[in-house]
Symmetry: C2
Subunit: 436 residues, 2 copies
């Protein structure tokens, strides 16, 4: 009855080959490059642990089989691990001092590549061929960094008593207002929408766990075609209760970002002992621009980040006290600075990567604020119950994972930091091709 | 310019109070219960770290303030931590040997609860009032367990060289066929759908990382109203390359489940040294039911799990070799058992919690299989490129997070293991109320 799991021939990972010098081994992976040199054939093989050079000598029993094998073929290779003579050592390659002398090679699957690995292609061609282009060393390392960022985010918050929760993507109404929500054909002509943020649910979870976080997808139907917008993106959210004000949220976010920067040393993010903080009006004064604008232009974000780097040695900058008019209904007003909110944006290398602040926690006030925004409290009954049954002063923030990844690695277009980006014109391939 | 983050009065978490006996402290949290006894008022306070009893003596300066305070009020409490006299110690409570003698109490927010905490309510009332009902000790512990399960899943896979990736929720076509996909109103009348599984994307990522996993939301528009179906659920997916066959996937899934069971001891999941394995036909023989059926009825799943527990002391059972006719187009056929697939379901305490298997990895074969299923390969060009550029033998599995949570804690209805469940009739509240 039991079928057993033993692997009959043991595969060695390329990264471990150096422990098998002078022995026969089996490796499995992709042909990264094939080069023919006289009667000899050289390969670089690639698996998840690294790359290694293999050689088929003219006398090898594999010499016939290798004739058909080209780049990206998936192969199972038997051979002997040899130390290379001193003069052939390639110090550029991690395994540059060893070589596999191939005795047998089996093809798992053939490959036909759309263009050479190092061909210069535009972003649309790159995206059209992601199943192939993501295999490059550069793309792989972007998404390994992204995996580290999201894990570091969770680590930092768990350590501080935050509990992860699963937030819904389907919501009953375009509740927050502002962001354009995609409509979904739900059962029996009923209406549903895609969530533009987990905001309401993370506030509900403050009532349950005090400190809650989620890593989820959100959806924005805005008609932007820029290098920093996506129709679907990953948001790293947290929300915490029993704060004094928004600065407690900023302190937590700062600790989280410090942990992420530590876990991603290749990002070389410069962060002084404390991230500098300016109010919106202070930013505008510093830049010598109009004090009447309620928000910063992308160009202003870029310039004030240059200032923060020059003056404070910081790639990060907090901007606080946006006018209430520019913030959602649940934003907390600063009692000492009426008209301005206890909110912040976090800028990183010229781009807003996070937004957050303190929220209104008293039921009566929240109902008033909904009404003042021309919204019907009856449509918010589920959310409002959270406040009816008692809520502490609380606040939180949201970080865009793809934006953070792109800035961390200085990628000019957010789509290079997105697996399978969706925008106005694209879901996998260009949409015109995709719609029957 | 810098606003500083210092908390003016230091809050002590209730779980740490025992380190402050005979000292004055500040705690902040919810009123879990209020009890009046003569001229004294007793409270149980709750924060994220635990509960503690507080008492307001008739001479306390707080005696006036507490008059208004009822269950679920959010409060900031100053008092002295006293050791209780031996005879008043409550061994049932974690903090049963101490008590807070209250000197001041401040109300952050009032509360009006819809029903008492211990009231018996039906599932619809429970769900309608989740912002309140999730605060119970029982509900809190369900979702703490769920947070542990998802983290243990990621831990086990990272340890084995799997890399996390973000899979899209918006897809261009109802690609897999079979499961009913929700349609989304995308830009300019273009069509998009909600993903019913991350299957295609995790296969693409095998080409990139060999071993990849994701924790994501998927959406099923099937018209089921049962205790085990949801319209939106969390799926724990992994996919791995260079396998011998489906048993490598089963071995990995078994290791992952063993790690989860270890991290969730309260689940008391019984797992012998090896999870027993039966083919579908062996299950049917064992149960004495028809050998012509291509699948198991829920009742059969329940009965064969009883058998596995009795015969093998296992809450888990693998069932393999479902007929090809019941599996998707990418399923790998068993060469030695034509008509049957190298696939499996994992049953846990009577319910299928995971499905998986080996996948077709050769391009030509996959195109043939699409055509045989009456599907147009041209619509799958993005997915198919993965195979055009070389793919190893591979396979993977998907675990339903809410199902696993529900079975782990023996909850009869999957909705009790779901934060904000969506079904045919409900998004937060019942849909009739929710649609303008």
């Amino acid at each position: 009855m039991f079928y057993g799991y033993d692997v009959l021939v043991k595969r060695i990972l390329i990264g471990d080959l150096r422990g098998h010098i002078d022995h026969e081994v089996l490796i499995q992976g992709w042909v990264d490059v094939r080069r023919d040199q006289g009667k000899m054939v050289f390969f670089n093989f690639r698996d998840r642990s690294g790359t290694v050079q293999g050689v088929v000598l003219p006398k090898s029993p594999a010499i016939e089989t290798v004739k058909e094998i080209r780049n990206e073929y998936v192969v199972s290779v038997t051979g002997r691990v040899n130390k290379r003579p001193e003069k052939n050592i390639n110090p550029e390659m991690p395994n540059g001092d060893i070589e596999l002398e191939i005795t047998a090679i089996e093809v798992f699957s053939a490959a036909e590549i759309p263009f050479e690995r190092d061909a210069e292609v535009n972003i649309d061609t790159y995206l059209d061929h992601q199943p192939y282009t993501l295999r490059s060393k550069e793309a792989q390392s972007v998404f390994r960094v992204q995996a580290t960022i999201i894990e570091a985010y969770r680590e930092a918050l768990r350590k501080r008593g935050f509990v992860e929760f699963q937030t819904p993507a389907l919501v009953g109404s375009d509740a927050e207002g502002g962001a354009a929500a995609f409509k979904v054909d739900y059962y029996y002509e009923q209406k549903a929408y895609l969530a533009t943020s987990p905001q309401f649910y993370k506030q509900i979870m403050v009532g349950v766990f005090e400190r809650a976080f989620s890593t989820s997808k959100v959806f924005r139907g805005e008609k932007h075609a820029t290098t920093r917008h996506l129709s679907e993106y990953s948001t790293l959210d947290f929300e915490m209760g029993f704060i004094q004000d928004h600065t407690d949220v900023m302190a937590t976010l700062e600790e989280v970002m410090r942990h992420i920067a530590k876990r991603v040393p290749e990002g070389e993010a410069r962060m002084p002992e404390k991230i500098p903080v300016l109010t919106l009006r202070e930013v505008q004064k510093t830049l010598g621009v109009s004090l009447d604008e309620p928000d910063l232009e992308p160009e202003h974000e870029r310039l004030i980040c240059e200032w923060a780097l020059k003056e404070h040695g910081s790639d990060f900058l907090f901007v606080t006290h946006y006018p209430m008019s520019k913030r959602p209904f649940y934003t907390y007003e600063d009692e000492n600075n009426l008209g301005y909110s206890k909110s912040f944006d976090l800028l990183f290398r010229g781009l807003e990567i996070s937004t957050g602040g303190q929220r209104v926690h008293r039921y009566d006030e929240l109902v008033k604020r909904l009404e003042a925004h021309g919204m019907d409290p009856a449509l918010f009954s589920f959310y409002l119950e959270t406040f009816k049954v008692g809520m502490p002063p609380h606040g939180g923030s949201a970080v865009g994972l793809e934006r953070l990844t792109a800035r961390m690695l200085n990628l000019p277009n957010i789509k290079e930091a997105t697996l399978f980006p969706r925008d106005m014109n694209r879901i996998d391939t260009l949409l015109n091709n995709n719609n029957e």
